[in-house]
């Protein structure tokens, strides 16, 4: 770690603090925002997220080493944390801190992208089912029933094992495509109630087509469940990716995702617990932050909703 990486790290913390403070300031000005802040860990969650996002964006500044470079696999393997290697080195002599920082890029990136896929499909299907009702609703919702009945990790394992050498993009798509079922149910329920409201009837009366009504009038008003499930969805995807990578079928070597770091390190968990310990903690903090922010958002946007206590099998 050079002076510059320390400075960059300090900078990242400052940026995250400023971001959290800004969010607080804006939130305090609104009723919904105050409900958000009433959630005990929401502000802390915002800080943690801002910190890791800053790390991911500023990775080249904060990481002192190339994350895939094996510095010296003979003399620098499994070194404990020190000033030179903030979080130690792994068995290949790679800097764990650098890998963790670049891993934030991969893990958060995969989480966000897969969540976008899931939320897009989920919102689309939910809106269609809720708006058109009747047979389309019946078909789509039976499909959702099937989707919910199959354990997600099972489908992913099967697909990844069957089509090995699955490119990372395909994996992200697949995680997204197996994660939209709950969102679509929530959106459908919201749309079902919205379509009876006056403004929808008014829009239809002036001759707006279904596409326009759905996109201009219905979906924006159904934003609350979408946003909340997005926040919680990223966390779930990060956990799933970690599980898949742990089994050796997620992010390929030598790329550092947090899951693949645990995979690389757990065989040496006795000799070098830091190699799989820190990425696990990183996952825990980020997912916790996402859950806290998601809960806060739910309180803020949709106080009626209760939460789903179960998470995906990881």
């Amino acid at each position: 770690m050079t002076v510059w990486t320390w400075l960059a790290l300090a900078g990242a913390i400052v940026v995250a603090l400023v971001a959290a403070a800004q969010v607080r300031r804006h939130a305090a000005a609104r009723a919904a925002g105050r409900r958000f802040l009433r959630h005990p860990t929401a502000s802390l969650g915002v800080f943690i997220l801002a910190f890791f996002v800053t790390l991911a964006l500023a990775a080249p500044l904060v990481a002192p080493y190339d994350p895939t470079r094996q510095l010296d696999p003979v003399h620098l393997q499994n070194q404990p944390p020190s000033l030179r290697f903030l979080l130690g080195t792994d068995v290949y002599g790679r800097d764990v801190w650098s890998r963790l920082v670049y891993g934030a890029r991969l893990s958060l990136g995969i989480g966000t992208l897969a969540m976008l896929v899931a939320v897009t499909v989920g919102a689309g299907v939910g809106a269609l089912a809720g708006y058109f009702r009747h047979w389309l609703d019946a078909i789509l919702m039976r499909g959702v029933d099937v989707g919910l009945a199959v354990p997600r990790i099972f489908v992913l394992l099967m697909a990844v094992a069957l089509w090995e050498r699955l490119p990372l993009a395909a994996l992200v798509l697949l995680i997204g495509l197996t994660g939209w079922f709950v969102t679509s149910r929530l959106v459908r329920a919201e749309v079902l109630s919205l379509r009876e409201r006056e403004f929808v009837a008014a829009a239809q009366a002036v001759g707006a087509g279904p596409t326009r009504v759905i996109f201009r009038h219905v979906l924006p008003n159904a934003a609350a469940p979408i946003i909340v499930s997005a926040a919680l969805g990223i966390g779930n995807v990060i956990l799933l990716e970690a599980g898949l990578s742990f089994l050796g079928i997620g992010v390929p070597s030598p790329l550092p995702s947090w899951g693949s770091m645990i995979h690389d390190g757990w065989q040496w968990i006795v000799a070098a617990p830091w190699t799989s310990g820190f990425p696990g903690l990183a996952i825990a903090f980020v997912v916790m932050a996402l859950n806290a922010v998601g809960d806060g958002l739910r309180d803020a946007l949709d106080p009626r909703d209760t939460l789903d206590p179960r998470k995906e099998g990881t």
Binding site: Q70, P73, V91, Y92, G248, I249
Partner: protein
Amino acid sequence: MAFTRPPVRLPAHVALVGVVLVALTGCERRRGCAGDYCGTLVFAAAGEPDILLPPVTQQQYALDIFGQVFLKLADLGLSQNTIGDEDFQPRLAQRWEWDDPLTLVFHLDPRARWQDGQSVTAADVAFTFDIYTDSLVNSPFRSSLRTISAVTTRDSLTAVFRFHARYPEMFYDAVNHMHILPAHLLRPVPRSQWRSAAFGRAPVGDGPYRFVVWKAGESVELTADSTFFLGRPHIRRLIWRFTPNLQVAVTQVIAGDADAVEVLGPPDNVKRAQVAANLALYPYRGELYGFLAFNLSTNGDTTKPHPLFGDRQLRRALAMAVDREGLRKSVWGDLAQVPPGPLARLWSIWDPETRQLPYDTAQAARMLTWLGWRDSNGDGIRDRDGQPLAFRILVPTTSALRRQYAVLLQEQFRRIGADVQLDEVEFGVFDGRTQAGRFDAAVIARQADPTPTSSLPQVWTTAGRSNAGRYASPVFDRLVDQASAAPRRDAAKALWRRAIETLNQDAPAVFLYAPDNVAAVNRRVTDVVIRPDDYWALVRTWRIPADQLTDRDRAEP
């Protein structure tokens, strides 16, 4: 054991409690096993057998377990000498003689019994040979028996082996590859259904131990056959406990949940075992070597050279780019050596003077450039005619060690400008792919026979059944044939060296490690002898002295 402290006067009621306690523990002891033939030995296994039927499996733990239940005609001696028949130990065969140079006659021990009471007969031997060489059963050992033309019976206790040709290790081939099987139990099984035979999950044998139970995902238990004709085994119960990986296996042995592990593996495990007071370590010569195999063919089709590795110069360049000593130190510390070719530590032909390609990245880079592989777009990866120098390394997920090598190699090749991706697959899939030749490069470890004569041709000659990379060199093949047939050891050794040097120059693989193994066995076990070619072959003579028995030993199953 209850009162070893000096006697003190006790109040009456305390004494009474003491008497009751002693009586209780006494009862406990009488219920348990006592004497010389108790003892329970738990092997920690870093895997689980697929089926306990050796003609159809090569899985290490399947062979370990099977070896206790079934006998061979004769066993290799501790000298590990595979030439001639002097150093072999009688097992199922009481004695043998040569009728003529091509006819070997075995006389079975009349005391030998199958565990269901039937006698072991020469018909069983003939049946076994028939099974091992049947194309429907398709045993992995089939090619090792190709030199034997027929096995017939002369009478119920006499089996006759006929050979195609004369060579120094005829006897070894006759006895070492086959475990004799009970014809009366297995004849009804159709040859096409051996892979799913119920017998394979509940075998009945003729060896020192009987099969008791196989709990899927957990353990296999064997129990000593007290009437075993070569002597009652001292240890009463043998249990293989399946664990997900070697690290957990070693932890179980250290914690006393298991008693023995055949290979400790990387230095980290050895260090942990060294400081464990309950363990004794037994080093022995390794029978294994690991290498990165280049596939010279496309998908196993030898008429189509691999787009990259069909090129001998490219293979040589890549081989020279690997710091094999550095990798060995990183993974193994001092517990393995870099083999000077396809060689296991166990082999007498191991010769550090064997000529091999040097580690020379500058020369490797020059060769690649000369071959037209240049980094024309500045992305750090060499390319030629628009094609990047990219390939994939196949590696089994079940072996932490080989994966470690693969990741290290990935970086070594990246430094010279080759883009390498890893294909991590389950061991069964790995095995299938390498056999079928469907890979670019693969980190393979070969469990070698005690002699190069059967192992080397199988893996490296044109006709070799396990020649994953499809290396084909007539010069090498001829030298191997000559070395195998050489009647004198020193002549053979010189020929082997020439053969291996020929192979090294062609660089069909990068030879990475040849470990010196260390086994760990609980200290209460005595008379431990480990035969390098078959670690647990002599377990029936191991003992746990009566004064060392623990509750685990005495417990009734």
